[in-house]
């Protein structure tokens, strides 16, 4: 029972600015065999959710940080020891008809590189080894569709009874399992109370959740919610927020988009949105108004000769928000912009963003207009000094001057734009100049200017 080769599983550093992470789910239980690089635990940080690969091969002997607990980067989460070092393995999958002691010996034999002395004398490993390894091999294959459903519902496929060949979990097994689980769940989900750690982790466990009173539902905040809450509060405490709005006649943009949209779809498979036009015009305008694309760092004003453009993306169901960043947006034409925005939005919604995708922004655009809202006062994404809000394009009666110099009322597609800026750095006249130029660009640019 040597433990000298035990390997530590620690909370990894998921990006430079990330200092802590939450264990969302252990994919292995104490006593489970785990291979090097096999996913062992799921963690969640304020940037991304990810799975941590096992740093070694062996048996998971200890879990020190339990699901729901948040700890600092580098904290010991669990330990992997030699096979046989941990507590007894769980019983074999149903269907194996061998006696338990024999199975245990077989499991040990199969997972231990050199197992001399580990097998109890008198145990006959031959009887158990063959069916066990055969069964185990087939059960472990998880088809793509089963993996997807499992991930969507947070289910370990190994916990689902399989009816496929060799006990494989089929799509039908998985769907039936999900249905049973959902049927069994209570109407109001019970609050998850983290199990007490066997050994105290280096960080304090979170205080117990409040007990629900009549009519209330209580659920713990996830890491993203905590991140958003902390960030929004800190930004309002940091910057002197002021919002200015301007109305833009989008006639030219609408005409260009109508012309280009089918071609973009056909030739590139890219959906050309108004947002891509606004982003292009914004990047151009920021060159003339560099402080809108700057930040205050201590006593210094830091400007950039590039634009790393963040886009606020709402996640499924409006719960959750992430701001992926299009790096060096100043080097993108309209097609590149449209493609980049679509790619980021898609990867945000499918949780495929990497830590670097959400860092390094110099300016942000938020686009709540898809819901029809015409005005808002967004909060600046620190440490930036401005955030542009784009709103619904609405047909409005609009006073124009006809070719004879007479005023006339025309129907025009109008969009409101807001710039929320940090008045510590950007003054009202400066912000107004930026918005004025941005409007002029959107109202006068031809197809070739994009």
């Amino acid at each position: 029972m040597a433990t000298g080769t035990a390997v530590d599983v620690v909370m990894p550093q998921m990006g430079v600015s990330v200092s802590e992470g939450t264990v969302t789910r252990w994919l292995k239980s104490v006593g489970d065999h785990v291979d090097a690089d096999e996913s062992i635990v799921e963690i969640s940080t304020d940037k991304v959710d990810t799975e941590v690969p096992s740093p070694g091969t062996g048996t998971l002997t200890e879990i020190l940080v339990h699901e729901g607990q948040t700890v600092a980067v580098g904290t010991l989460l669990g330990r992997i020891g030699d096979a046989g070092a941990g507590p007894a393995a769980p019983p074999p999958p149903s269907g194996a008809s061998v006696a338990e002691p024999a199975t245990q010996a077989a499991t040990d034999a199969a997972t231990t590189a050199s197992s001399e002395g580990d097998v109890a004398p008198g145990e006959d490993r031959v009887t158990a080894a063959e069916p066990e390894s055969h069964d185990g091999h087939d059960r472990t294959f998880v088809s793509p569709v089963v993996a997807r459903i499992a991930a969507e519902h947070g289910i370990d496929p190994a916990s689902v009874p399989g009816s496929g060949r060799g006990g494989r979990v089929t799509k039908k097994d998985m769907l039936a399992f999900v249905e049973r689980q959902q049927g069994a769940a209570p109407a109001v989900p019970a609050p998850e109370i983290p199990a007490p750690a066997r050994e105290p982790a280096s960080a304090q466990p979170p205080p117990g959740p409040p007990q629900p009173e009549g009519g209330e539902g209580v659920e713990p905040m996830n890491a993203m919610r905590r991140g958003i809450a902390e960030h929004m509060r800190r930004s309002l405490d940091t910057a002197a927020h002021v919002t200015s709005a301007i109305e833009v006649d989008m006639s030219k943009v609408v005409a260009i988009r109508d012309r280009l949209k089918p071609e973009y779809q056909r030739s590139y498979g890219v959906n050309l949105t108004y947002l891509a036009f606004v982003a292009r015009a914004t990047v151009e305008t920021l060159r003339d108004w560099p402080w809108v694309n700057a930040e205050l760092r201590g006593e210094s004003i830091v400007t950039h000769n590039y634009v790393n453009l963040g886009f606020a993306v709402a996640l499924e169901g409006g719960k959750g928000l992430i701001v992926p960043v299009l790096k060096h947006a100043e080097g993108l034409n309209l097609l590149g912009m449209a493609r980049g925005v679509a790619d980021l939005a898609e990867r945000a919604r499918t949780k495929k963003l990497l830590p670097d995708d959400v860092q390094g922004g110099t300016f942000t655009i938020t686009n709540p207009g898809s819901f029809g809202t015409f005005h808002g006062t967004p909060i600046i994404n620190q440490p930036q000094s401005g955030i542009l809000g784009t709103y619904a394009v609405v047909k409005r009666p609009w006073v124009i001057r006809d070719e004879n110099g007479n005023d006339a009322i025309a129907i025009r597609p109008i969009m409101n734009l807001t710039l929320t800026y940090d008045h510590r750095l950007v003054d009202g006249a400066y912000a107004g100049g930026f918005l004025h130029d941005l409007r002029a660009r959107l109202e006068t640019s031809g197809e070739a200017d994009y």
Binding site: S143, V146, R165
Partner: protein, 322 residues
């Protein structure tokens, strides 16, 4: 509306188009006086005259080259290959000239090439092939493979209407064996649109031509299994969306064709499913096709060569149990 055989549907559809549109002409070996090897154009020369129903010399090059030239001059020729197998003699006119003319010069080539294809009657290696994948691979050509009498008429009219060369693979085995309701009036079946032959939830079979019926017979033998059969109808362009939608529903796919396996069009379909619907698969994609040999002449060997109902039953069972 009346019940017609697959062969009658083709013949009636062609006659209807010739009566409606004087630009439609027929050219082929023995299509005139003799009425065609399978009697599709029987009586056509009497009705439309020898200038519109042309008996060609024994040269597929002449037939396809002549049809292409006539198309350039504004006609809408329907060329008949006596057997699909003989099209290889006209490859150059079809592939080098007809398929590329529009690309090179902007000239539409609205020709239809009728190709009696498929085996099952001991026709041997020169009279039984299904060469659709060879032509689906040629940009500029369209390939349709109807399975029902109604689709045979609708797709033939679409082919004549289409500004591109369209290869119309008509399965000989279906000529007189399959009957179905065919509307009397003129109608078109869109090229590139699949037809759901039967709905199901457990396994998708993607197939076309005579194999649609092989698949349906196999499915009927497996009462406890709910099989969805997608009749592709057109091989190029093919209805990816219909295939992917079905596979996303059932998560298991069997691709079935009478053509040989390697480089058969089923390979393209299987690859597309793997690319586009990977995360929806619950089993490996299965292909059932003929082995990579010429079509055998001997009846028992030909039976072993062409996918049979029992082969499909075994394949479906394997997928169900996976």
């Amino acid at each position: 509306m009346g019940e017609k055989t697959y062969l009658q549907a083709i013949s009636d559809g062609l006659r209807q188009e010739m009566r409606r549109d004087k630009r439609v002409i027929v050219i082929g070996e023995d299509v005139g006086v003799y009425g065609g090897a399978f009697k599709v154009t029987l009586g056509f020369q009497e009705e439309f005259g020898p200038w519109r129903v042309i008996d060609a010399p024994l040269s597929e090059t002449a037939i396809l080259g002549g049809a292409t030239g006539a198309a350039i001059m504004g006609m809408r020729p329907v060329a008949e290959m006596q057997f699909a197998d003989f099209i290889s003699c006209g490859w150059d006119q079809l592939v080098t000239v007809a398929a590329k003319q529009r690309w090179r010069a902007g000239t539409p080539i609205p020709i239809t090439v009728r190709l009696p294809s498929g085996g099952g009657f001991s026709g041997g290696p020169f009279h039984s092939q299904n060469p659709e994948s060879s032509f689906a691979h040629i940009p500029g050509l369209k390939c349709v493979c109807p399975a029902t009498p109604a689709d045979a008429k609708g797709l033939l009219i679409s082919a004549i209407e289409d500004p591109n060369p369209v290869l119309f693979f008509e399965h000989k085995h279906l000529y007189r064996r399959v009957k179905g309701e065919v509307p009397d009036e003129r109608y078109t079946t869109p090229i590139g649109e699949a037809r759901l032959h039967q709905e199901g939830d457990d396994v998708t079979v993607v197939t076309w031509g005579a194999m649609v019926y092989t698949a349906a017979e196999a499915a009927a033998k497996l009462g406890d299994l709910s099989v969805e059969i997608v009749d592709l109808r057109s091989v190029m362009p093919w209805d990816r969306e219909a295939v992917l939608a079905s596979v996303r529903k059932t998560s298991k796919a069997l691709v079935l064709h009478e053509d040989t396996r390697s480089g058969g069009f089923g390979a393209e379909i299987a690859a597309t499913i793997a690319e586009e619907a990977f995360e929806h698969l619950d089993a490996p994609i299965k292909r059932i096709a003929a082995p990579d040999t010429p079509v055998p002449f001997s009846p028992p060997l030909e039976q072993a060569f062409i996918p049979q109902v029992d082969d499909v039953v075994a394949g479906l069972r394997e997928l169900a149990e996976y």
